[in-house]
Amino acid sequence: MKGLLNIVNKLKPTFSKGGKFGWLHSTFDAFETFLFVPSTVTTKGAHVRDCVDLKRVMSVVVLALMPALAFGIWNVGEQHSIAFGLDMTFWQKVWFGFLKVLPLIIVSYVVGLGIEFASAQIRGHEVNEGFLVSGMIIPLIMPVDVPLWILALAVAFAVIIGKEIFGGTGMNIWNPALLARAFVFFAYPSKISGDTIWIEGLSAANQSQLADGFSGATPLAQLANGAQELVTTTGDHLSFMQMFIGNIPGAIGETSTIAILIGAVILIWTGVASWKIMISCVAGAVAVGLLINGIAAPGTYADYPVWQHLVMGGFAFGAVFMATDPVTSAQTERGKWIYGFLIGAMTIVIRVFNPGYPEGMMLAILLMNTFAPLIDYFVINSNIKKRAKRIAA
């Protein structure tokens, strides 16, 4: 370690103000603090500080994403082998999925961090760690077949328009990862909707290569098309359990509710994400779902049991990893209950009543991101009113 520290210390003057590469100060600082915790000591206020920092917080979230990523990698191979009728071993599937997913992750990080570094450089700030999380989430909510250049565009859009123009991490209004997905959805709709894009190689394949009777439609798409009973890609009955485990077509990281729940446990236990948002999100979905179930005509989409919604599409992933983004969610504790509840409720409403777009989670979260400050405003105002009453009394 000492040798490395010496190298860093030797290089430092070159990258400091006035040095040869002084303009690369922020970049150097990012790598330096990545390797070594800064030697800064407290000057004002409390003399000792908790050893947690933003790097740690962000790495916990990335860690919590790992089960979903690992499952997603395997599932890419699994779905491919089913679609093409291939007989692959477990490790072959994993390797296949790994080769497909890795480029997406690399593109996401390279483009996103590149922009983050550049803007930190321009501002003369330290590089913020926020994108470590967004950069991992974005590939996980993309279909595996998304072209890399579209992904790169989406990431650039999310980071520049979604974050940097507001002042960087901590200042943004909308969840950057969701903006990336929304960008693809509205700019290149054919790349993120339909029945063929969720499984690697399907969109480019011709029918004869596929297994007999194969359909790549996701459960949500089937429902939106008025299916009476959900089926697997090969036409068998699709059980709740299978959707819960997640070996179904879908975006890379969103299919496995169980892997996401492992992530949720990590996030809640470490206190990094709000359990209130997760719980109220589920509560909102169940409440509205039951209401709709109650008034629905039998056999329609609206009659579809609500608990199945919780394991379909991006609901679980959104509730655990995206609704809970502390920057874009409600910031007051009471506000978090309301915010989460409305996300869950909106998701079901969008899914059921808007057949044009089967996935409601993305829009519900983006919508509530927009309203989060308003929710907080009302919560805060009740505190202000209470205080005003005290003066009057």
Binding site: M1, K2, L4, L5, T33, L35, F36, V37, P38, S39, T40, V41, T42, T43, K44, G45, A46, H47, V48, R49, D50, C51, V52, D53, L54, K55, R56, V57, S59, V60, E126, N128, E129, G130, G167, G168, T169, G170, M171, W269, T270, G271, V272, S274, P326, V327, S329, Q331, T332, E333, K336, D376, I380, N383, I384, K386, R387, A388, R390, I391
Partner: protein, 449 residues
Amino acid sequence: MDIPIAGNAELTIKKSIVPDIIAMKPTDFKCLTPKLCVKEGDAVKAGSIVFVDKKRPEIGFASPCSGTVQAIVRGEKRKLLAILIKSDSETEYIDFGKKDVAKLSKEEAEKTLLESGLWAAVIQRPYGIIANPADTPKAIYISGFNSAPLAPDYNFTLKDETANLQTGVEVLRKFTKGNIVVSLKESNYATSPLYKLKDVVYYTFDGPHPAGNVGVQINNINPIAKGDIVWTVNPVMLAAIGKLFNNGIYDASRLVAITGMRAKERCYVKTLPGISMKQIAEFADEQEVVLYDAPSQIRYISGDILTGENVGKEGYLGFYSNQITLISEGNYREFFGWGKIARPRKFSLSKSYFSWLTPKKRYDMDTNLNGGKRAFVVTGLYEKVVPMDIYPVYLLKAILAEDIDKMEQLGIYEVIEEDFALCEYVCPSKIDVQNIISKGIDLMIKEMA
């Protein structure tokens, strides 16, 4: 939360330190513009006024010892930083005369406090500044226990002061028609030297820091509304007020706890405010300490680790302090610190490290910031450590926006820096929260003047 820092003082009085040089620091008093009353070479007694508040010249600040003014230390723009007084070996006191408090009028009590320099013991809320003698407070609050990290134990330091505390209460009684509220710790209130006082109202509080902060107690008993003024007095100062009226002298001597892991003997010493840190050097552990390959100096803090002042080895004990904390400076570079699975030598409230597995462990903490400064990201953390009916983040934002109305509406009158010290400790974005509050209070004073 209680910060599990190691280094509590043993409940023994090791010695009395007769001061060599005493520093009186106008900077100990918030928002004070001092006006000097002495010059170099002047002789002073214990109780002689050395400087006064320029805006309210009736409020004097007295020398705690007798001696000669040795130097007047000024900083930038000739700002008065300290008055150094070379202490005599025998203290001569100004005689203010023993008083029978029961027969004293409010005006006489006020005059004695002002003349003896002890008026500075009376702090007003809002803002946490020295009270204005012209005000009549709604109530007076005394927190009977200190919950700050490694704080001195009043049950020990004030155990022989009950009579003085009672006199102090009787003096304060003259200034308010409202209650004099004494807050005690739920678990051991019966053994407190403040438990048997007459003419006070008791509340008990339970739980970790900041339960002992008087601001938190007021917020839970009867929050301060706009226009309200309440006073607070620290029990050590209350005892000094009692001594003034019982014995007729300004006797500022007190028991000071020497704490922290860089103190080799952690104990109490009897001494005066303003003593030089050089005189407690014998208690400091000067053995070289190496943290993560970097040699670590000692930080001398007058006060506790949350709100104290870094006075340095050449510095002096503050007027209100009854604690000195000696901890290691953390100017080292830890390799891949944030990425380690566990950091057994460090504590974190967050469960992202594993210090929650060892709840009883006490840590040898240092002054490393443990990360870089960032924008505010993680929500819900400050609320956990501010047990008041206040939204800390929104109050801080209002201060940053210099929005006076919002600050008022969100409760600026109810808080001072120390109430937010724990936010600063837990903040993963390393935001200097106390400094923001301090700016907010300064702004309010300026706008409301």
